[in-house]
């Protein structure tokens, strides 16, 4: 079943199509949610509510862009909503105000790291760092978009991104040097 057929079947409310769409995207989208939320339960809650939103808003999908990108955007928004409920996002921005520089030494051996280890490194970041890094580096949002999405300034977004990268770099070196 092609993607348009699958979407059409879901629009008709066919349970098998809904299950197939869920199976097709649930794993990827759970990883997206886990990048923003530390706890697995919170990530699954965001996944559940995100899929509910996907099926609810499916009639508004115009078949113009990537369907996976559309689903991912919904999941990111849902994860951010869940994050606001679970973790004090703004406090984390204030807690790490000092600028940091990236390590000058490039990490080379960390290319062998598995996805779960990268995910663990990402989840170990403070909430503000993690959120901005996710949005900028992995989702492709610009700093103005991030500032608007999180209610922060562009300077804060850039600062958080820089500090997140520096922290990740150091931790990557620590992991690979062991």
């Amino acid at each position: 079943m092609t993607e348009p057929d699958l979407i059409a079947a879901c629009l008709r409310g066919e349970p098998r199509a809904q299950r197939q769409l869920y199976n097709q995207f649930a794993g990827l989208m759970l990883t997206v949610c886990r990048r923003y939320l530390k706890r697995q339960e919170d990530a699954e809650e965001a996944l559940l509510l995100g899929f509910a939103r996907v099926f609810q808003a499916l009639p508004t999908f115009r078949q113009e862009g990537s369907f996976e990108g559309w689903v991912r955007r919904i999941m990111v928004n849902q994860a951010l909503m869940e994050l606001r409920r679970r973790e004090p996002l703004h406090l984390s921005f204030e807690d790490f105000a000092q600028p940091e520089n990236l390590a000058a030494t490039p990490a080379t051996a960390d290319s062998q790291l598995q996805a779960n280890e990268l995910l663990a490194l990402l989840q170990s970041l403070p909430t503000g760092y993690r959120t901005v890094f996710n949005l900028y580096a992995l989702e492709g949002y610009s700093h103005p978009e991030i500032a608007d999405l999180l209610g922060i300034t562009e300077g804060t977004s850039k600062s958080q991104l820089s500090k997140a990268r520096a922290m990740l770099q150091r931790r990557l070196q620590a992991v690979t040097s062991v």
Partner: protein, 335 residues
């Protein structure tokens, strides 16, 4: 001239073209950071971009149950079922309470008088609605007319004996249906009056009234006091038939006794015992049982048969027995 210009261009091109100016220390550091940042981002992007985490099975089940197919009908059905159960319990309670209270307000010993010579539908009753006000006042001495008004309950003149039998049963059934405390109805020809055993005391509160479940008999020959409440057939109109002419309608016939009691087939008391039981005897009142009610509600929920008698403590059967002459006619009514 043009050759000189060409030589100058070649000179700069040859000298500066392959020349690499090394960046300054700050610029070199920034460039290295950008390259490292891009490499770091790409590492996470490629490492996590296609990574799939397996969600637990409960996520889909919750999604299906709570969002895709929430099944509101089942919840409504449950609510409707409980509403129905609550309504049934309330109805049972009201019904039991009404029967209970009705048993106290009904006369303990009623009297149905009948005489030959009139049809069953010519039953006369005393003007009962006006009498209780006069008799309710303690210490009020009743006038003779009031005395007469209080006494008769229901009278019917029947010429054939067969009609008598049918009418007795019908009247007694009406009494039993209107009260859970079955009174005893006794018919006497000379006085054709019905009085309660609390004659002369006026209206008594229901809690002080004796229970009629013991099968007490009230004979009109022993009392002249007022009946606490008339025992009438529902179709009768008391205003159309005042009580004084009833005495004139009396015809010399034999004594007819109608007895209504709880339980299946009662043992007929002796006349002496009947007279002795005419006085009020305190006995156990029918009591609304909470445990029984809850048990019946549970039966209702589980679709099992519900027993009103068990819930209210009332008897399941009421037996009406009529004696006239040497014949006895009895009928058991199941509530």
């Amino acid at each position: 001239m043009s050759a000189d210009n060409d030589n100058l261009d070649d000179l700069f091109r040859q000298q500066l073209g392959p020349h690499a100016t090394p960046p300054g220390p700050d610029l070199a550091r920034r460039l290295a950071e950008l390259a490292e940042a891009e490499r770091l981002d790409a590492r996470f992007r490629t490492g996590l971009g296609s990574h799939a985490s397996q969600p637990r099975r409960e996520v889909w089940e919750r999604l299906e149950d709570e969002h895709l197919r929430p099944q509101p009908q089942r919840r409504r059905r449950v609510v409707a079922w409980w509403q129905l159960s609550a309504a049934a319990v309330l109805l049972l309670t009201l019904l039991a309470g009404g029967l209970w209270r009705g048993g106290y307000f009904a006369p303990v010993g009623g009297l149905a008088s009948q005489s030959a010579g009139a049809g069953p539908h010519s039953a006369r009753t005393s003007p009962a609605p006006t009498v209780p006000n006069a008799t309710n006042r303690p210490g009020a001495s009743p006038t003779p007319s009031q005395e007469i008004n209080r006494q008769p309950i229901a009278q019917a003149t029947v010429s054939p004996v067969e009609k008598n039998r049918q009418n007795f049963t019908r009247q007694a059934t009406a009494v039993a249906a209107s009260s859970s405390s079955p009174p005893i109805a006794t018919t006497t020809r000379p006085r054709r009056t019905a009085t309660a055993p609390r004659a002369g005391r006026g209206f008594q509160p229901p809690r002080q009234l004796p229970d009629a479940a013991a099968g007490q008999l009230a004979t009109t020959g022993r009392r002249n006091g007022p009946a606490s409440q008339p025992l009438v057939t529902p179709t009768e109109n008391p205003a159309a038939h005042p009580s004084p002419p009833l005495v004139a309608m009396t015809a010399p016939t034999e004594v007819v006794e109608v007895e209504v009691r709880r339980g299946p087939e009662p043992s007929r008391p002796a006349p002496a015992a009947v007279a002795a039981l005419a006085e009020p005897v305190p006995s156990r009142r029918p009591r609304l049982r909470l445990g029984g009610l809850l048990r019946q509600a549970d039966h209702l929920v589980h679709g099992e048969p519900v027993s009103l008698a068990e819930a209210t403590g009332l008897a399941e059967n009421v037996t009406v027995q009529a004696r006239f002459g040497g014949r006895v006619v009895s009928k058991t009514i199941q509530l």
